[in-house]
């Protein structure tokens, strides 16, 4: 790797770590509480929860 490539690596990783770690923590902390158990429905009803 060239010196420039190594410098980009060293600058990029800490930035990526901070941004992604913050995003991941917030996504985990701010997620909505699970929906209350829905009343039983007919078993033929298809699921529409997002993949």
């Amino acid at each position: 790797m060239t010196r420039t490539h190594r410098m980009i690596h060293r600058a990029l990783w800490p930035a990526l770590i901070i941004i992604v770690a913050l995003g991941f923590t917030l996504a985990l902390a701010l997620r909505l509480p699970p929906a209350e158990e829905a009343p039983p429905v007919a078993q033929t009803q298809p699921s529409t929860s997002h993949p």
């Binding site: 060239t2 490539h5 980009i8 770690a21 996504a27 997620r31 033929t44 993949p51």
Partner: protein
């Protein structure tokens, strides 16, 4: 190595490497499908498709984690170098698994007649200002586009066409793709999944890759410390015997590229530390059959003049050397690639 570029040359090592990779991926996906179906039996076709979406999606994330770990691992411990050798095949396989994940996701939308809804969601601009509620599919599409570009340009033709420096810079986009995949899952599946598996997979994978990169970065920073210089600016390498036979000592000029000073018996030569193939660290290789051999992919060069053996045309820059007061010294200014410059000690 290549004369320009040529079709993929299969070796036994590559076949075994690819075979083991495909086997490992198949075992993971089969295990995921079996365990997930047992824990939460699918109630209809849609929930069955979702299991496939998650199986291929989590496999993609794990494969990206492994690919990004190989680089720093091989910097920290040479025993991981064989994994680096065929990393591009690993990358293309990861793209194929990601493509299957995308195909199952599209199938899911088709099965519930939801593609128009997806299109509306993707162009609902106010949602892009939200954090929870951000259209996470857009992050996945962006990551997939990067993986597609990287897989399409993985062949040696593109490496030769773009030059190693541009090609390596382009492939740095994998870090961005990894971050996008993390947030695609964090803002998507993680919002509804209440098991410990997903946070552990994401957090554990990202922490592993991050720690490895930080450790490897610290080590490389130390290696970039400038080598002592004499009064006329030549770098002082040390006594000839301080250079291990058939191997190199790496020296660095202030602000310059690394130089690999090799010793082959009584002969000493200095080459650019950048392999002409992918800028691999030549100085961490050794001399095999009289040729300096790159540790990454086995490209070879003559110590005398930095030229690859016939019929190959690759050349490395060489550096002038001299012996002064019992110490080998090297001129930090490179000579034109292919210029003979060795000394006998």
């Amino acid at each position: 190595m290549s004369a320009g570029y040529r079709a993929v040359q299969w070796t036994r090592f590559k076949i075994v490497y690819d075979g083991l990779l495909i086997l490992a991926v198949a075992i993971y996906i089969a295990s995921f499908l079996i365990v997930d179906s047992r824990l939460e039996p699918p109630t209809d076709q849609l929930t069955e498709i979702i299991i496939y979406v998650h199986a291929f999606g989590s496999a993609t994330f794990l494969m990206l984690t492994a690919i990004l770990s190989i680089g720093p691992l091989s910097r920290l411990d040479r025993r991981f170098l064989p994994l680096l050798y065929n990393r591009r095949h690993f990358g293309v396989l990861t793209f194929c698994v990601a493509m299957t994940h995308v195909a199952f996701a599209i199938y899911w939308f088709l099965a519930m007649d939801g593609l128009p809804g997806l299109a509306i969601e993707l162009v609902n601009w106010p949602d892009y200002g939200k954090f929870i509620g951000f259209p996470f599919e857009a992050l996945g599409i962006a990551a997939f586009a990067i993986l597609l570009i990287m897989a399409a340009t993985s062949h040696d033709f593109w490496l030769s066409f773009l030059t190693p420096t541009v090609w390596k810079a382009l492939h740095l986009a994998l870090y961005l793709a990894y971050g996008l995949v993390m947030m695609h899952v964090a803002l998507g599946a993680l919002q509804t999944d209440r098991t410990f598996f997903l946070p552990l997979l994401l957090g554990g994978g990202f922490a592993t890759v991050s720690v490895l990169h930080v450790l490897a970065g610290q080590r490389e920073r130390k290696r970039d410390a400038p080598t002592p210089v004499g009064r006329d600016g030549w770098l002082i390498v040390g006594a000839p015997q301080s250079i291990p036979d058939k191997r190199a000592r790496i020296v660095v000029a202030r602000g310059g590229e690394r130089i690999a000073v090799f010793r082959d018996g009584a002969r000493i030569g200095a080459l650019s530390n950048l392999c002409a193939h992918q800028n691999g660290p030549i100085g961490e290789g050794c001399i095999i059959d009289g040729y300096v051999t790159c540790p990454w992919h086995g490209y070879q060069y003559r110590l005398a003049d930095g030229c690859a053996p016939q019929p190959f045309t690759d050349k490395l820059a060489t550096h002038r050397l001299r012996l002064r007061a019992g110490a080998v010294e090297v001129d930090p200014q490179p000579l034109p690639p292919g210029t003979a410059a060795t000394i006998e000690v």
